[in-house]
């Protein structure tokens, strides 16, 4: 062990400066890990030539078709032997963390021990962009025993390839007053009930779920997931008079106007004299002082979170909580980045039955995707191709005006079913009112 370090004049320049240096970390590993010595050799070569030198391949564990990211070096000598033989195989195991990325110090140490014991390089990325613990640097021969060790500890491989992917939920209910549902529970119900689609990739392309407890969307679910489950509420914003008075005492009328009232996107907040605040079941009265109040018209509040962010605790989400579900978010390839769009404006998320309904909807959407998407097509691209209405009909959801920014602006549609569709709308309204 303890192969001589290669010269790394480029990487060495990344050891100075105030931010923690991964190069310093690699050098610590390289003291007794030859794989890391050679990894640094290859990385230095990339810094010199400005090229990457990894290729994929097929490496896995028994029974699973994904979760290991195989990497083989392409830096070869003239005779075909690898220039950095100890890092010629440098695979990653993707492991799913506890929902919300909570760790005890013991768990962190157990992870380090298990990784070293089973042949790992000692390098761990916390976390990958989909939320995996990435155990980076292991040879093919050691992959199975490393996975077995982590699996015995209660951990499982994440997703890769055309499969259900590892999910993320925000800190949410564990430490945030804005949380509108149990994000970790929703994540585990949806992911763990569909785990077959993660471990045996057979979908048209990847499928990602993300779970955010409120519209601040700290997991970036609207842009990064095929199905975004975002907490929201239907009743009025709650107000705590003691805290709203405290907030005002520490701020000013200028702050109130500039940072709260005028930044409400739907102008649902007005400044009022206390005596002049409207009454009504959709009004929240926010007491700033004996003289001044804010009046929130909840019927025109779009649950954007801004005023609640500015006045934490003084304002809180309502109590009739649930989720909004948006489908089709994804990054660039192939049609360009696309945002998730609303398919369920509101769904309660409290009882066992509510969570089961979310689970069923998730399964229905995955099934529809599996049957209808083209190869290498994401859900958002499929919806772009077939239209939202076909998608909704396929998964059994009714149209709703909350799904659109505005109705169509062109006449290019055949409308000979209009009367029947209008009748459905009135029937749904009557059923909802009953």
């Amino acid at each position: 062990m303890a192969k001589q370090l290669h010269d790394t004049p480029n990487l060495d320049q990344l050891e100075s400066g105030p931010w923690p240096s991964f190069v310093t970390g690699l050098k610590r590993l390289a003291k007794d890990n030859d794989m890391t010595v050679d990894l640094m050799g290859q990385l230095e070569e990339s810094y010199k030539t400005r090229f990457g030198y990894w290729k994929g391949g097929t490496v896995g564990v028994v029974g699973y078709g994904g979760g290991v990211i195989p990497r083989f070096t392409e830096l070869k000598n003239a005779d075909g032997s690898p220039k950095f033989p100890e890092a010629a195989e440098f695979h990653t195991l993707r492991i799913m963390p506890p929902a919300g990325m909570h760790y005890s110090s013991k768990l962190l140490r157990d992870f380090c021990d298990a990784w070293i014991e089973t042949g790992g390089s000692g390098l761990i990325a916390l976390h990958g962009q989909s939320g995996d613990i990435m155990l980076q640097g292991i040879k093919t021969a050691d992959v199975q025993r490393a996975f077995d060790k982590f699996n015995e500890m209660g951990f499982d491989l994440g997703g890769a390839g055309p499969a259900l992917r590892t999910s993320m939920s925000c800190v949410g209910a564990a430490r945030c007053e804005m949380s509108c549902y149990d994000e970790a529970r929703a994540l585990r119900i949806v992911i763990n009930n569909n785990i077959d689609d993660m471990h045996r990739p057979s979908l048209p392309y990847k499928f990602k779920f993300k779970f955010s407890g409120c519209p601040n969307d700290c997991t970036n679910s609207v842009q990064r997931s095929d199905m975004a489950t975002i907490g929201t509420w239907r009743d009025n914003i709650r107000s705590d008079e003691k805290l709203s008075r405290e907030w005002y005492a520490n701020h000013s009328m200028e702050d109130t106007i500039n940072m709260v009232v005028s930044m409400c996107p739907t102008r649902a907040i007005q400044l009022k004299k206390t005596a002049a605040v409207a009454t009504g079941e959709k009004i929240t009265k926010v007491v700033l002082s004996d003289e001044q109040c804010l009046e929130i018209d909840n019927s025109n509040c779009v649950r954007c979170m801004h005023c609640i962010n500015v006045m934490p605790g003084a304002l809180l989400p309502g109590k009739d909580k649930g989720v909004t579900i948006l489908v089709g978010g994804k990054s660039v390839l192939k049609i360009g980045a696309s945002m998730g769009t609303v398919v369920v404006p509101f769904m309660k998320m409290e009882s066992d039955e509510d969570f089961e309904r979310l689970n069923e909807l998730s399964r229905t959407i995955i099934d529809f995707f599996a049957e209808n998407a083209l190869e290498h097509e994401r859900t958002g691209e499929m919806i772009e191709r077939i239209g939202l209405v076909n998608f909704l009909e396929g998964i059994g959801l009714d149209v709703d005006p909350s799904m659109i920014n505005h109705p169509r602006a062109n006449p290019y549609v055949r409308t000979d079913g209009w009367d029947e569709e209008a009748e459905k709308w009135f029937e749904r309204k009557a059923a909802a009112a009953a």
């Binding site: 990487l11 931010w19 290729k55 649950r303 934490p312």
Partner: protein, 357 residues
């Protein structure tokens, strides 16, 4: 392979409860208030008055096990033995006693971990794998991030921005780093260089043809071998053909440039979520410290910091002042490449007389 002694349990995502700070566990779903006592520190109070303080520190994300053990030791010696990680690879220590905050901060700082990343600061950069582990990277990720965070360290440890600033870097146009207030993304500028000797054996040609967003790839017989050819007039140099067909090399040490995009926002707060927009390109891929990237990012941040109003994110600041003012203030050139000609691009044009003079 040796005989396996373990039967796989497809256990999925683990329950976080065994690893969660006890105060958070006891008050799960019952939080009522938070405040931001100082940069890097959050205070949360539950309905029953229970309190928890959080200290947030930056990490390198790609960590050796010695560093992770050090973080665990700090959790035991100066906190309550529990941590969590954020989506941007910051570590959070929770303590049930406010008196533990300052000694914890000192221990983290003494070990080289910067404290910050909360509220209206520049947080850690969400990033990708790069040359360290990706099979298609145009550049490195960890190194580019380390270099830039060294430059932005002050903005991480202070909270002086109008609102929070999220950054990302991506080593190719697939943009795995994600949408951000400021995103730094490789932009290829030349069509792929094809190794025709390898295409037939390595690439599933119809798949590659189907991958191209502009239908610029077609099957061809080159030197008597089945291969693929690219209509270079149509090619938009996106690199989509490279992952399914490595002999179509898109990465180029000189012609793969950095582009900078601004105004991505995933939160629904105030404005609806937005995608980031291209503002600069042609920036050289210049390891090990990519100084040209830092110059542009810092210039944009300086203008936003000076001119943004409290709570305005970068996109909202630009919405208020307009794009002409953005290019004027930042000194960045406005070119024909900023005008979108992709499908649906006309919706990005100004169909009004709303013009600032």
């Amino acid at each position: 392979m040796a005989e396996r002694t373990h039967e796989t349990i497809e256990s999925g995502t683990p329950d976080p409860m065994p690893y969660m700070h006890p105060v958070m566990k006891e008050n799960y779903g019952k939080w009522a208030f938070h405040s931001h006592p100082k940069p890097g520190v959050l205070y949360h109070r539950a309905e029953n008055g229970a309190e928890v303080w959080t200290v947030k520190a930056g990490t390198a994300r790609q960590m050796d096990h010695y560093t992770i053990r050090k973080l665990a030791d700090i959790a035991d010696q100066f906190a309550d033995g529990y941590v969590r990680f954020t989506t941007r690879s910051n570590i959070e220590y929770m303590v049930g006693d406010g008196a533990k905050v300052e000694p914890l901060i000192k221990a983290l700082n003494d070990n080289g971990f910067p404290i910050g990343g909360t509220a209206n600061s520049v947080s850690m950069i969400a990033h990708t794998q790069g040359w360290l582990h990706c099979d298609i990277p145009g550049t490195d990720a960890s190194g580019a991030v380390k270099a830039l965070m060294d430059e932005l360290h002050d903005e991480f440890v202070k909270c002086e921005m109008p609102n929070r600033v999220k950054l990302s870097t991506s080593c190719c146009e697939i943009n795995c780093g994600g949408q951000a207030d400021i995103a730094i993304v490789i932009q290829h500028t030349k069509p792929p260089k094809i190794n025709h000797d390898l295409v037939a054996n390595v690439c599933e040609r119809p798949t590659v043809v189907a991958r191209c967003p502009v239908a610029a790839i077609r099957p061809a017989l080159i030197n008597g071998k089945p291969s693929l050819e690219v209509d270079e007039k149509k090619c938009i140099c996106c690199g989509a053909c490279f992952p399914p067909c490595p002999p179509m090399q898109i990465n180029d040490p000189v012609h793969s440039k950095f582009a900078i995009w601004v105004g991505g926002k995933n939160s629904n707060a105030r404005s609806k979520p937005t995608f980031h927009k291209l503002v600069a390109s042609g920036i050289p891929n210049n390891p090990p410290r990519w100084p040209e990237v830092s110059v542009v990012v810092k210039r944009i941040l300086a203008e936003y910091k000076a001119d943004g109003r409290p709570w305005e994110r970068v996109n909202e600041w630009i919405d208020r002042i307009g794009w002409p003012a953005f290019f004027e203030k930042t000194g960045l050139p406005f070119t024909k490449y900023h005008i979108d000609n992709w499908r649906g691009g006309r919706t990005s044009l100004n169909a009004s007389t709303h013009i600032r003079f």
